[in-house]
């Protein structure tokens, strides 16, 4: 008990933990962390039990600790709100895979600008309600954009997959064909498959251009280069799918 009281006395809560410590910090992998002092958090949990003993008059709390206790709920709410920002932000970072991070650099920079006051200016005594709201709205907005991008990208990849597994001919196993009849039948089939491929490509074209127009059209030149790289990767995938369709059709022959 004496040790606890000394610990409480030795801490200067007013200067160190509340007014000067920023709400947030970033770790090495650019993920966000709550910057709430873990020792202080332990103390806040512990002190509520000491407070019960204090009611029997057995101990007296030092003044800084009493002041801290009055702010306990306010700190808890802020801590929880900060954790919501951390969860939203890190959720976005985990959502972005590989090259997507480079593609969304402009969006992430925008998000960083919203988060910045929490890392540099706001502390645990600040009124951070509007900051929390702005950050969370911006995170949600970006989350929706990334989600939309990934959904459309998946649709494009699905089309590639369908193209890849398409058999372009229609040869019935065990059927003996007259050569001319075979050629006529297959020509009709190939024409149908051409139309199907046109349809697949249209879906790909629309999905890709919608993503670009909604998310990247007005982004900086670096992002435009990243988009072009992204497009080139898709170009290779489409070429591979078409090759597979031809290859599988020939193997089916």
């Amino acid at each position: 008990m004496i040790k606890q009281e000394n610990r409480a006395n030795n801490r200067n809560f007013d200067t160190k933990d509340e007014r000067t410590v920023a709400l947030l910090k970033k770790d090495k992998s650019e993920l966000l962390e709550s910057n709430f002092d873990t020792d202080l958090l332990k103390l806040l949990f512990e002190v509520q039990y000491w407070a019960k003993i204090q009611t029997f008059g057995l101990i007296t709390f030092p003044l800084p600790l009493t002041r801290l206790l009055t702010k306990k709920d306010q700190l808890r709410v802020l801590r929880e709100n900060v954790m919501l920002i951390v969860r939203d932000f890190n959720g976005i970072m985990h959502l972005l895979q590989g090259k997507e991070k480079a593609l969304f650099q402009d969006h992430l920079s925008g998000l960083d600008k919203f988060i910045a006051p929490g890392i540099t200016r706001l502390n645990w005594e600040s009124n951070a309600d509007s900051f929390v709201m702005q950050c969370r709205n911006n995170c949600l907005e970006n989350y929706k954009k990334i989600n939309d991008f990934q959904t459309r990208h998946t649709k494009v990849m699905d089309q590639f997959e369908i193209i890849s597994s398409t058999i372009l001919t229609k040869i019935k196993k065990g059927t003996l064909y007259e050569l001319s009849r075979f050629m006529t039948q297959q020509e009709t089939e190939l024409k149908e498959k051409q139309e199907t491929f046109k349809g697949f490509f249209e879906v790909i074209r629309v999905q890709l251009f919608t993503i670009y127009q909604e998310l990247f059209l007005t982004c900086k030149s670096k992002i435009q280069s990243e988009w072009l790289e992204f497009l080139k990767d898709l170009d290779k995938s489409l070429q591979k799918s078409l090759k597979n369709a031809v290859k599988n059709s020939l193997l089916d022959f």
């Binding site: 064909y177 050629m183 491929f197 251009f209 497009l231 080139k232 078409l242 090759k243």
Partner: protein, 133 residues
């Protein structure tokens, strides 16, 4: 024809005709081996040609983008939503061009149609040779 299995499965009906009127009758296959080979070659080309309806993704994207960007540029030049009314026309154009910059095609390779790439693909060519052998 063989497909991807080792088992040979016949596909075409071939009639064998013995020429009557000759003292030394010849065996004639209808359609002939050459004819079948020629038609199969044509058929394989038609299969590959299906991919010709798919244009290059980058080329189509550039075209679509150009269309949209031209409209946006025009709107900004004529002042709709413009924030640069006190700029000279040249500066305005330069600023708008910078805003809507997009990297040019890096190589002519990116413009080669898919059908050409597929027809030159070694896997496709190996299977073609295997079928027509």
């Amino acid at each position: 024809m063989h497909g991807d299995s080792q088992e040979i499965v016949p596909i075409f009906r071939v009639y064998t005709i013995l020429e009557k009127d000759k003292t030394d009758p010849k065996v004639v296959n209808q359609p002939s081996h050459d004819m079948i080979k020629k038609e199969i070659g044509k058929f394989i080309k038609q299969i590959i040609n299906v991919t010709s309806v798919v244009p290059k993704l980058e080329g189509v994207f550039r075209k679509d983008r150009e269309e949209v960007v031209e409209k946006l540029k025009e709107a900004e030049l004529t002042g709709q939503g413009s924030q640069s009314n006190n700029m000279s026309e040249e500066d305005k154009i330069a600023m708008i061009n910078k805003k809507y910059f997009f990297p040019p095609p890096s190589s002519s390779k990116s413009e080669i149609p898919y059908v050409e790439m597929v027809s030159k693909n070694s896997e496709v060519n190996n299977i073609t040779t295997y079928i027509t052998e």
